[in-house]
């Protein structure tokens, strides 16, 4: 029994509980930031420990935890986005007065995400997904006085519950067919499962799992909740959903499909490919008509889920490598974009409207540059991180004999250029006279600006120095496929 492998889990669980516990005390002055600092300390410790565990796959307990390179890489991604979300929440009005719960729930969700991507067993995978979902239901609705926030939480809860039900049903069928909940054992069983056409229950289980994970990843046609929930939730929480949750959901896709169900790849690739295609098309078209940057980013996150699923659908090592790299690029550009939205929202009413950004780049040039870079990178313009990511995804698709999905992805990207470019051009357009005179003179919160600037630099560096990052992703992808 290897208990050391669980260390990241112990650390994160402990700081989650401690952060929530601080709510029992009336903290004054600097100590009011205690939950944040606990969280940051825990995350840094987790990052260090996870780095120490990098190497050949290790199984914890009786195989319930599977610390593979892919698991560790995704843990890094999740931890870094959690760190960024805590920074983005610095002085967040939604968290005012209930900071311990707010930070505690973010940490709980992060723990769930980590558990998801390092799961070695269906039950653990399920617990991870539930932990992250339940925490996020509350986080969405944490601004109880604001109706939109409540609505957002409720919508997420209802659709999320359906997803959960489908997931557990799918897992149950999978267990019924294979007689085990261990992902490793399932992989062995499925490798010799024979043609899927004669096993309707296996088809049903695969489909149910894909649908349920599709809910979490906000892939079409299970995306309907995304725009409303993203718009209503406090913006840092939205940022967390579109980065952390996405990473966890993609991790689950990789573990279950590319990893455990590798033997059936020719059977499920059509299913995932169809979901990917629908997500790219619907997401990009949906984003075209939005006037709120938050809603636009919600639809764009649907489309991005589609791109990511290309890498899952091909089911190869190249595919998994591309997904890993694209996730890194995706969280970098998404967090940078959300940082700028948060900045603007704190300055003016309805700061998430695209009009609110008119001429913003001229007022705060660094923010304009970051937002422009983020938008161009999301659109896949070279030579930015998003381009390298898309390039790798298309390469994986063509390598895996799925040329058609690369073409669909390319055409869908054309549509995306319109709305991404619109935001970046609006940033530099002349502002209507007097626009900025009345707005609150906000002293830029350091952590939020930090996330924006680091994100902006990261977008460029991830592309220019892509080689070492891709090497890491390569190692991770190799650990996934037996």
């Amino acid at each position: 029994m290897n208990y050391i492998v669980g260390t990241p889990l112990y650390i994160m669980s402990a700081v989650t509980l401690l952060a929530i516990l601080t709510g029992a005390f009336h903290l004054k002055g600097a100590a009011r930031r205690l939950p944040e600092w606990l969280g940051i300390g825990g995350i840094v410790a987790t990052l260090v420990v996870a780095t120490g565990l990098w190497g050949d796959s290790q199984y914890g307990f009786a195989g319930e935890i599977h610390m593979s390179r892919m698991g560790i890489l995704l843990t890094w991604i999740i931890m870094i986005s959690t760190l960024a979300v805590i920074a983005l929440s610095w002085g967040e009005p939604a968290g005012a007065g209930r900071r311990p719960e707010y930070i505690g729930l973010i940490l709980a969700a992060a723990t769930g995400m980590m558990l998801t991507v390092t799961a070695g067993d269906l039950i653990v995978l399920f617990i991870g997904i539930e932990l992250l979902s339940v925490s996020l239901y509350i986080l969405c609705a944490i601004e109880v006085v604001r109706e939109r926030s409540l609505e957002s939480g409720l919508k997420y809860l209802i659709t999320g519950a359906i997803g959960t039900a489908l997931l557990i049903y799918g897992f149950a069928l999978l267990y019924g067919m294979t007689g085990t909940t261990s992902l490793e054992a399932i992989a062995t069983k499925l490798a010799h499962a024979g043609p899927l056409t004669s096993q309707p229950l296996l088809i049903a289980s695969m489909a149910l799992v894909a649908v349920a994970l599709g809910f979490k990843a906000s892939a079409v046609p299970f995306h309907m909740w995304t725009p409303d929930v993203y718009e209503g939730a406090p913006t840092p929480v939205t940022a967390f959903m579109s980065t952390g949750t996405k990473t966890a959901a993609m991790g689950a896709f990789l573990i279950v499909f590319t990893g455990a169900a590798q033997g059936l790849v020719s059977d499920w690739r059509v299913l995932i490919g169809a979901i990917a295609t629908a997500s790219m098309v619907v997401g990009n078209i949906g984003a075209l008509m939005q006037n709120s940057v938050k809603r636009m980013l919600a639809w764009s996150s649907v489309a991005q889920a589609g791109y990511l699923l290309i890498g899952v659908a091909v089911g190869t090592e190249y595919g998994a490598r591309a997904v890993a790299y694209y996730l890194i690029a995706y969280i970098t550009m998404t967090l940078a974009a959300f940082a700028i939205v948060i900045l603007r929202e704190r300055e003016v009413e309805n700061g998430d409207q695209i009009e609110a950004f008119t001429g913003y780049g001229r007022r705060r040039p660094w923010a304009g540059v970051v937002m422009t870079l983020a938008m161009l990178s999301l659109a896949g313009f070279p030579p930015l991180a998003g381009f390298i990511g898309k390039f790798m995804l298309f390469q994986a698709a063509i390598d895996g004999d799925m040329l058609w999905i690369a073409i669909v992805g390319a055409l869908a990207s054309v549509v995306s250029v319109v709305y991404y470019l619109r935001v970046s051009i609006v940033m530099w357009s002349p502002a209507p006279a007097g626009e900025f005179d009345g707005g609150r003179r906000l002293r830029v919160p350091g952590p939020v600006a930090g996330v924006a600037v680091i994100g902006g630099v990261g977008i460029v560096l991830l592309a220019v120095l892509a080689q070492p990052v891709i090497d890491l992703c390569q190692g991770a992808a190799q650990s996934l496929i037996p």
Partner: protein, 512 residues
């Protein structure tokens, strides 16, 4: 000296420096913009002086591996096809920078910065030796142009910008898929993943693959050119963009498409090019006739020049696609000629538009009375544009038509209409604005007269036209080896008689 990298780094640095100039300081912005463009011009002159005319392959190559595991590299170089395009780009951007600096719009520093960024894109494109890098610069060029149209354009700038971006992106993303597919298929033949054009030369693709890949590339090129019927973005973009931008788009950005055809399309996929020879030639012929007719009826001078450009580019494409040595020579020469002439024509449109307050030909007339020097310059440019014997463009068109006639006489006959129409529409533009009763201006056209700043732009362009007209060999001598090398595989694929096939060319299957 890493000359090639300097070529893209110098304007890039100048563009970034411009971003840091305080908003109010327009003088500093102008200085940095012009100095940046002139320094780039110096670098390109340095490259031209060191260019070895006898070599057909890429020279002065700067190569750095970028992302090895996915096959990307930074690889820049020049050969005979690109050398004059590079020089023309730096010359036209220097002149364009002067023009822009004279009448700097609101937020002028950003305007100049974006101009320099588009220069980076074009120069990178013309020198890229790696397909992905080619794509990177292809896209890189789009963003500044889109910003320029969308922010500083006319009343319908937003629609113009969106149309332009969407059209271009459809082509370029399909091209990206084609690029990746090319390397993936070639991987089996070469043994490793590479996007270097020189490595991909001579890879024997199956005829289906060759045709599909060629089609994937050509779509992007056809949209950028534009080739009929992919020109839907042109009227909007050309008429809405600030005129300096329109001039640079017509003179240089359109060459990106032709250049791609000659650098990537025809040499890498000779079989596919041969299969699609007739369809593309027909589109080019339709473009020649249709563009000429549109130019004839165009209401504004700007659209007239824009549509004439559609016709002229049809000629160039035809010259490349018939796989004839002489025609290809003419096409390469004509790329430079057209760039210089169209830039001069748009400069004249700019001067008249500024003085007369409109570019509408029906509302102008008799300007020659008050602006005789403008009239002279205009006449020279008009003569060059309609390829009068003795003009620089005559040499190019003669080469193209001669080569086309050698291979497909009927195509040459149709293309001749373009030459005739060119005389009709160019003279119409000249006559309706310069001759007749004075219209549209209160001072008999004196406000349209050339100023010193205008002469600074027009005189160099006219001198270049004369130079090429008198001594075309100076240009052709350098382009010969590379052009031959580009079309030789296609000639073989087309089963041309051995006498026509260029001896120095590579044969399919052999690595250069």
């Amino acid at each position: 000296m890493p000359w090639m990298s300097l070529l893209v780094i110098v304007p890039f640095v100048a563009a970034i420096a411009l971003a840091f100039v305080p908003r109010g300081n327009r003088a500093a912005g102008r200085t940095i913009g012009i100095v940046g463009a002139l320094l780039t011009l110096l670098v390109s002159i340095g490259i031209v002086t060191q260019f070895d005319r006898g070599v057909g392959t890429m020279q002065m190559v700067d190569h750095v591996d970028w992302v090895q595991s996915i096959g990307l590299s930074w690889d820049l170089g020049v050969d005979g096809i690109s050398i004059w395009l590079v020089l023309m780009t730096t010359v036209l951007f220097s002149l364009g920078m002067f023009a822009a600096a004279q009448r700097l719009p609101q937020r002028g520093n950003m305007f100049l910065s974006l101009l320099l960024l588009s220069e980076v894109g074009l120069l990178g494109l013309f020198t890229a030796g790696d397909l992905v890098l080619f794509y990177v610069f292809w896209e890189f060029m789009l963003i500044p142009f889109a910003f320029l149209i969308w922010t500083w354009g006319g009343d319908e700038r937003r629609r113009a910008g969106i149309t332009f971006v969407v059209y271009t992106m459809v082509g370029s993303l399909i091209m990206l898929v084609a690029i990746i597919s090319t390397a993936m298929i070639a991987q089996d033949h070469i043994g490793h993943l590479t996007f270097l054009i020189s490595d991909l030369h001579g890879v024997p693709f199956s005829s289906t693959a060759s045709t599909l890949l060629f089609a994937g590339f050509v779509l992007a090129f056809a949209i950028k050119l534009p080739l009929w019927p992919f020109h839907g973005w042109l009227p909007m973009a050309y008429s809405q963009a600030p005129i300096v931008v329109t001039a640079l788009m017509a003179a240089l950005m359109s060459k990106a498409g032709v250049y791609g055809l000659l650098r990537v399309g025809v040499p890498l996929f000779p079989e596919g090019a041969n299969t699609l020879l007739i369809p593309i030639a027909i589109l080019a012929l339709i473009g020649i006739v249709y563009g000429s007719l549109l130019a004839w009826r165009a209401p504004t001078m700007r659209l007239l020049v824009g549509y004439s450009s559609l016709a002229h580019l049809g000629f160039i494409v035809l010259g490349i696609m018939v796989f004839d040595r002489m025609a290809a020579q003419g096409a390469v020469l004509q790329m430079v000629n057209h760039g210089v002439v169209v830039a001069a024509a748009f400069t004249i449109v700019m001067i008249i538009g500024r003085g007369g307050g409109t570019e509408d030909m029906d509302r102008l007339g008799g300007l020659a009375k008050g602006a005789p020097r403008l009239a002279v310059a205009f006449l020279i440019v008009a003569m060059a544009s309609l390829a009068l014997p003795g003009a620089n463009t005559f040499v190019g068109e003669f080469f193209i038509l001669g080569g086309v006639f050698n291979q497909y006489a009927w195509m040459a006959v149709i293309a001749m209409f373009g030459v005739i129409y060119a005389a009709v529409y160019m003279l119409r533009m000249y006559q309706s604005t310069m001759n007749g009763p004075v219209k549209g201006v209160s001072d008999e056209g004196r406000s349209c007269e050339l100023r010193r700043g205008d002469a600074l732009i027009l005189v160099p362009l006219i001198l270049i036209m004369f130079f090429i007209a008198l001594w075309p060999k100076a240009l052709v001598g350098a382009t010969q080896a590379s052009t031959d090398r580009a079309i030789a595989p296609a000639q073989i694929a087309a089963d041309r008689p051995a006498a026509q096939i260029v001896p120095s060319g590579v044969t399919p299957g052999s690595r250069p």
